[in-house]
Subunit: 140 residues, 2 copies
């Protein structure tokens, strides 16, 4: 853990980084999307139903295509939980896209006081519901 951080602050900044990723998505902001992803580390992305996308240029191109495409979906992030393993943050959250739900894994690495995204996967999930809803506590 970096000097001067606390577990609570770490989780808060990690969840903020995750929210920023979804804000870039929801607001169709390619520049913000670029800023969310790490520049100095290999990055990868598994969009649902796509083959793997890897490398910063390809990953950002894939997001630009999604953000600017005619079918660019409205998206909302729900029930985000943050887990921290040394310098790596893992956020698991639901994504609501229209009436559909996905579950996502977002992996961040620590960068100064914040976090940068190195990997995203999302895939089909059941609707969160009774007996199905993730616990509200953090996973860490």
């Amino acid at each position: 853990m970096a000097t001067g951080t606390s577990p609570a602050r770490d989780r808060a900044t990690l969840l903020f980084a995750n929210e920023t990723f979804y804000r870039a998505f929801a607001e169709r902001d390619p520049a913000l999307m670029d800023a969310v992803w790490a520049e100095q580390e290999p990055i990868t992305c598994l969009h649902p139903g796509w083959p793997p996308v890897e490398g910063r240029d390809s990953v950002l191109q894939s997001w630009h295509a999604i953000l600017t495409g005619p079918a660019s979906p409205d998206i909302e992030c729900l029930h985000a939980r943050a887990g921290i393993h040394r310098d790596t943050g893992i956020v698991i959250c639901y994504e609501r896209i229209g009436q559909d739900y996905l579950l996502a894994t977002n992996i961040f690495i620590r960068s100064g006081d914040g976090w940068l995204l190195v990997h995203h996967q999302s895939g089909a999930a059941p609707e969160p519901g009774e007996g199905n809803e993730p616990p509200r506590r953090s996973i860490n």
Copy 2:
């Protein structure tokens, strides 16, 4: 990076840990599956179509149910690629289950000379094929 390791050795041990996870799955070996997952870190699992599973007891129970169930699927891991970010290893691979393909994210943390699994997600994927097949090079 731990003293005495090299990037090539790191990737080899990471891919070995990933293979061990799939060996536990393919050989229906609950004890090996238990050994693959970290004990001292929070662990989570996103099985395709399931709500999130979190905590060691719940994650291992979910795997024991899969491994001992009457519909326990045959599985093969294909095209595994290893990316290392400091003390965290990310492996992306295809899973072939019968005629179906999934893509998986497996996140490991460094433990001594090896790696322990802290998170798994898999979801539906297209069949690897021309223009679709992941590059053979490592992602790191």
